[in-house]
């Protein structure tokens, strides 16, 4: 069951790329589509940040991950590269759990 879902997602993600390469331009150049599609990653990534920082399963929690996210925000504002942002957040959570 899990693999069926994973394979479906793979096919969808590849199919969307192929569609952009192959479909007639006028279908995809609709201004509403052009405006809406770039908003999807913004909303979904923000929702993922919130969910994976402030919840476990179906309960809301405030733990070391919040501090890790705060460090990540500072790193992003300082224009740190991707890996530095991730490592800084990971190290923050690990250090806070150590003490």
């Amino acid at each position: 069951m899990i693999w069926a879902g994973v394979l479906t997602a793979c096919a969808a993600c590849y199919g969307l790329k192929l569609a952009g390469m192959s479909l007639p331009r006028h279908l995809l150049e609709d201004p509403r589509l052009q405006r809406t599609v770039p908003l999807l990653p913004i909303a979904l990534l923000a929702a993922l940040v919130a969910i994976q920082t402030f919840s476990t399963g179906r309960s809301l929690v405030l733990d070391q991950r919040a501090a890790a996210l705060a460090v990540a925000v500072v790193a992003v504002l300082l224009r740190a590269p991707f890996l530095v942002v991730v490592v800084a957040a990971t190290a923050t959570a690990a250090l806070l759990r150590l003490v």
């Binding site: 997602a9 201004p31 913004i42 923000a46 759990r97």
Partner: protein, 175 residues
């Protein structure tokens, strides 16, 4: 599935105990932007249908950004294939190393590894937040998602957020 944010999202939904189908839908919605990248790239990367089939797999944020930043079509094509191929190889190599190494780590929480995904999403999100509207959308999406977590199954808050932002985009389109 060669598009990082979608991979993370699918694994994230599964890890939180959500349905694989909710995860798959989220992954596809996150991958929709690649369709628009393909549209922009299709005029740059000329070639027959087979080349399109191969090129499609390499359409990601990084290869698109490198390709559309060039002045010469020749340089664009080179940038696209070189970036797409090198990220493809290194990304999958990294995935393989991670899959093998995770068995050697008894408790990923102690190492703070559960804090890594949100930081990664944030780093992917940050370059898209260059104006007031996207920042407002991101904040609303976070609040709505958290409000839904206790009341619906894992993964569903993401789908609700996607539907809401879709409606917002389609309704609010002035251009």
């Amino acid at each position: 599935m060669f598009t990082g944010a979608s991979q993370f999202a699918l694994v994230g939904v599964l890890g939180a105990g959500g349905s694989v189908w909710a995860g798959a839908a989220t992954a596809a919605l996150l991958g929709a932007r690649n369709g628009l990248y393909s549209l922009r790239l299709s005029s740059l990367l000329d070639g027959g249908p087979w080349r399109r089939v191969a090129a499609s797999q390499f359409v990601i944020d990084e290869s698109t950004a490198m390709a559309i930043g060039r002045d010469e079509p020749e340089a664009s094509r080179f940038a696209f294939w070189a970036t797409g191929f090198s990220v493809f190889v290194l990304w999958n190599l990294g995935t393989l190393i991670g899959a093998l190494a995770i068995h050697a780590i008894p408790n990923p929480r102690v190492l703070g590894l559960d804090a890594a995904p949100p930081a990664a999403y944030l780093a992917l999100l940050a370059p898209r937040l260059r104006a007031r509207e996207p920042i407002a959308i991101a904040l609303c999406a976070g609040v709505v998602a958290l409000a839904l977590v206790p009341v619906v199954p894992p993964g569903v808050p993401l789908l609700v957020v996607a539907v809401l932002v879709g409606l917002f985009g389609l309704r609010g389109a002035k251009a």
